[in-house]
């Protein structure tokens, strides 16, 4: 069976009047169904650009992106993209926010409404369905944004630093929540982050990117002796520190005769 997603030698540069910004060079990797892939890299190295390419919002300058073995086949329908901020609209209730995608695609019907209601109940937002977003806590807002994405039933979920707007404590619990939701809904996910421990605590595999223009530095397969741990539980396992150090080393290679930046 074809991998769910395959990138072959993808490169991308932004063109502006003041010059060219090379964001990605020669990126190749595959994502299998059911996998949780994390992509780490320094800020501004091109992580968000990579997700935009995968989602089809922008097209690669070079290379090809295959979704289920097909090039450029109607990207949006099978890919859910969660942006860095939740962007819940204050002029809509929580319910009308989470059904926004369905509304746009004209897929609001009895079946999809049931699905949304079920998710709202499962993830503890049903009581707040008629509230306005400003009444929700940071974690609840993030869950609402996730439900908005999941309502479209995407095969592949792209998460762009989804926890970066939260404070540390909320971040740990929301991380657990979202992870549990994704496992329960059996979603394939790509998580982009600059937080190494977040990557180690959630991913099956980690792609380490270099400074801009991003290349793939290393691919690290993550497996814990005890399986089925929550992200928070993983943080207490002995392997956690080893993976952390391994990624740290990959991000900050000390080349001979050169001071690490």
């Amino acid at each position: 069976m074809d991998p769910l997603l395959e990138l072959k030698h993808v490169s991308y540069a932004y063109h502006t009047k003041s010059g060219e910004t090379y964001a990605l060079t020669d990126i190749s990797f595959q994502v299998q169904r059911g996998e949780f892939l994390a992509i780490v890299g320094p800020s501004g190295c091109g992580k968000s650009t990579l997700l935009s390419l995968i989602s089809g919002l922008i097209l690669p300058e070079d290379g090809t992106i295959l979704r289920s073995g097909m090039p450029g086949a109607s990207p949006h329908s099978s890919i859910g993209y969660m942006l860095q901020k939740d962007h819940l609209f204050d002029w809509r209730t929580v319910y009308r926010n989470v059904t926004l995608g369905l509304e746009i695609r004209h897929e609001l019907n009895k079946r999809t409404r049931l699905h949304v209601d079920q998710m709202l109940k499962d993830y503890d937002l049903y009581r707040f369905r008629n509230a306005v977003p400003s009444e929700l806590s940071g974690g609840m807002r993030q869950r609402a944004a996730l439900i908005r994405t999941l309502a479209l039933d995407p095969e592949l979920l792209l998460l762009d630093e989804p926890f970066s707007a939260l404070d540390f404590q909320t971040r740990l619990s929301v991380c657990d929540d979202i992870y549990a939701i994704l496992r329960k809904e059996k979603k394939t996910a790509i998580l982009v982050t600059h937080d190494l421990s977040e990557a180690v605590s959630m991913a099956d595999r980690i792609l380490v990117l270099s400074q801009r223009p991003a290349r793939i530095r290393e691919v690290i397969r993550v497996s814990f002796a005890r399986e089925g741990l929550s992200p928070f539980a993983r943080r207490n396992e002995p392997e956690f520190k080893d993976y952390f150090n391994q990624i740290w080393a990959a991000l900050n290679p000390v080349s001979p005769g050169k001071e690490p930046a």
Binding site: S55, H87, R92, I104, A131
Partner: protein
Amino acid sequence: MSIEKFVPVSASQAAYLKRLKHRQYRIAGIRLLIFAVFLLLWETAVQRSWIDGFIFSSPSRIWNTFSAMWTDGSIFTHAGITVLETLISFAFVVVLGTSSAILLWCSDSLSEILEPYLVVLNSLPKSALAPLLIVWLGANSKSIIVAGMSVAIFGTILNLYTGFCAVDPDKIRLIYTLGGTQKDVLGKVILPGTVPLLLSVMKVNIGLCLVGVIIGEFIGARQGLGYLIIYGSQVFKLDWVIMSIALLCIIAILLYGAIGFAEKQCLKKR
């Protein structure tokens, strides 16, 4: 559903609220007092012949003029015409201004091409256009309504367009990630997101339309408060002039208040 919390009011909070209320009463009282003293001073000055009542009029003369025109009904004609023309030009500004701003937002090239023209037209003193309009369109309501529009329309377009462009680009990206098109961006983000701006621009516009209508009436009307002001000054009936100005003040306040009220209702409902 809003999460209402019952919070018992402490004694110091109650005292604070009471002080706040007292202050508000005091301010309102002083405002009224200033107005009363002004009227009184004006009236006395004319009665005692400190100033010439023929030129400066007086509160009692204004009142007499007003009640005479009320009885013969002419005040309703003049004020009614002015208000009607203002409302019509305002309606046109709302519809044309908003749709032009949307059009500019939809096409980057169009907005770039037209921007210098809009800026020039916006900074042009619109009273300069009024005589031209009268010649082109005739001395009738049509040119007065267009004069009212001309004062407000260009600023409206520029303000709204700027507001549309200031919408968070990530919110727009969100619509695209959900599979939307430019139409969805407009309908789900740009327009609903700029309703407060739209309302505040309109609150200013109603006053601008009134200005434009009065300018138009100065030049080419046989009815309306602007006509009354010009005619009154020409035949030295300054009671008419000053009464019309006072009436314009009241009309301006009422129009502004009406839009302000609509704004509050609209924002509360969201």
